[in-house]
């Protein structure tokens, strides 16, 4: 997913001089070709997230489309105020490329795990949040990010199997299957986890903010609503869905599946942590049956 994103930035930047990439001391060799061929559009800066976000804002307010790349935790927590007051307040066309959304970096411990990024970004007015589910979707998404209004947060999940999907625009939810027992609403690479659960409707939402306004209609057609996300139960997709349903007066049981409050400090692999938190196909099936 990440590699596809970088390839797309390179391709897009070749055609559009407005496109600028800023990395924060990320992996050696990243976008080397862009660095060599388009040095005016490539910046590899130090480990200084606050500065980079301000710098991105100044570039964006000068007409550039700025893609800023680093680890999700540092891009959200470390420079939150710069994202809020610089990027957000000025509605700057800055695209935050968040590596390791959710539990991708489990082995690196709680400093590098991002179970809270969506909650933080949801509080920023103007911020669009997208969570692609695979490399193919990233490839379709990136050209749409160039002229998309305002700032964007683009969350990279781990490498995941490609899901067959019709093309869609940023924000359009995709109904992947229909069923009667429940409606599962999910985002990002959790789609692959819920695919195949029998007799449920699966709504895949690549865009969490703003939320697709059709959700209340879809939810009203089912006896229960289940949200699944690789994120804290509080503050992310599940919370957003609850709020939207409440605003529309839809009082369905809503089961939010995700990470409970606490520090994700168990190390191990992403899969081991997902299993620990009950975010597996089997556990989700059980949760639906148990009501």
């Amino acid at each position: 997913m990440r590699k596809t994103c970088f390839n797309m930035i390179y391709e897009l930047a070749k055609k559009d001089k407005r496109i600028v990439y800023i990395g924060s001391d990320v992996g050696s060799g990243t976008l080397q070709q862009m660095k060599e061929e388009m040095p005016d559009q490539f910046y590899m800066e130090g480990i200084q997230e606050q500065n980079i976000i301000g710098m991105a804002t100044g570039l964006a307010l000068s007409g550039k489309i700025v893609y800023v790349n680093t680890i999700a935790t540092f891009l959200t927590r470390r420079c939150f105020e710069q994202v809020l007051l610089d990027v957000g307040r000025h509605n700057a066309k800055v695209r935050l490329l968040a590596n390791g959304g959710g539990l991708v970096y489990s082995a690196l411990g709680h400093t590098h795990v991002a179970p809270d990024d969506i909650a933080l970004m949801r509080t920023i007015p103007n911020m669009t949040i997208v969570c692609p589910c695979d490399a193919d979707e990233m490839k379709r998404l990136m050209p749409q990010t160039v002229d998309y209004p305002g700032p964007m947060y683009i969350r990279f999940g781990g490498d995941a199997e490609v899901v067959d999907m019709i093309d869609h625009k940023i924000g359009e939810g995709v109904i992947k299957q229909w069923g009667t027992q429940a409606i599962i609403i999910t985002t990002g690479t959790m789609l692959q986890v819920v695919m195949g659960i029998p007799d449920v409707t699966i709504v895949y939402l690549p865009r969490i903010k703003p939320l697709n306004p059709q959700i209340p209609i879809w939810a009203s057609l089912h006896p229960k609503v289940v949200t699944v996300e690789e994120h804290y139960i509080n503050g992310g997709l599940g919370t957003a869905v609850l709020e939207l349903l409440n605003e529309h007066g839809i009082n369905k049981p809503v089961k939010r599946i995700g990470i409970p409050e606490g520090y994700c400090d168990l190390y191990g692999t992403r899969e081991e942590q997902l299993k620990y938190y009950g975010i597996t196909t089997e556990a989700i099936e059980r949760a639906i049956l148990s009501g």
């Binding site: 910046y43 710098m55 804002t57 007051l85 307040r89």
Partner: protein, 251 residues
Amino acid sequence: MHNLDAKSIALRKKIIDVMNVSRQGHIRSAFSCLEMVRAVYDIMKPNDKFILSKGHGCLAQYVVMNDKGLISDKDLFDFCKFGAKLGGHPFLEIGTGSLGHGLSIGIGYALADRTRKVYVLLGDGECDEGSVWEAALCGSKHNLSNLTVLIDYNEQQSYGTTHEVCELEPLRDKWKVFGWVACEANGHNIEDIESWLQTTRRNKPEVYICHTIKGKGIKLTEEDLRWHHKTDITDEQIKSLHEGLNAENLL
């Protein structure tokens, strides 16, 4: 010797007039950086950028812009009213108020177009912020000779002096070792500032450490730290401020 020209005195009076309506504002900070802001606006070209990173000094920027016809009297005198365009921290082209943001935005401006000049005015207390020094590293790395920082070095911050709260000295040396051209001068001498800002130097960003007096011009605002951000200003105090700017009382 007060060394303020007629314009600087008139602009200070205008700030007091605005505060007569709003009854609040960071008057000491505005009086401290007024000549620096004037100097920048005097020499700025249309594509150039100015960022008042110490946003709380905004009354200085507002009255200078008003003087240049860039802000209307109505907007100026609506200062801090509900729904007003101008408040206690600015949101003009760039919004500032939380310290330590302006220099990084200025770097983005300067990188995007190296033919423009970018001026960023920092407070001395603002230099306590780590983000300022992140930006200092970045500005010299990119050899941004079109980027100029002006530091309002009045040596006072909210609680007390910069020497008590967080020592910045040797400030000029700090910027020099970060790779900047660093100079010092009297921040109330407008001719000197303008002349320095228009001198072309090496392929490096520049910092101009301007020695200033917080609350410059009036005894009350120069000496009383409680005027850092003053609210509930009385008629009597407004009168005293105006009297302080009379020729015989000017400091």
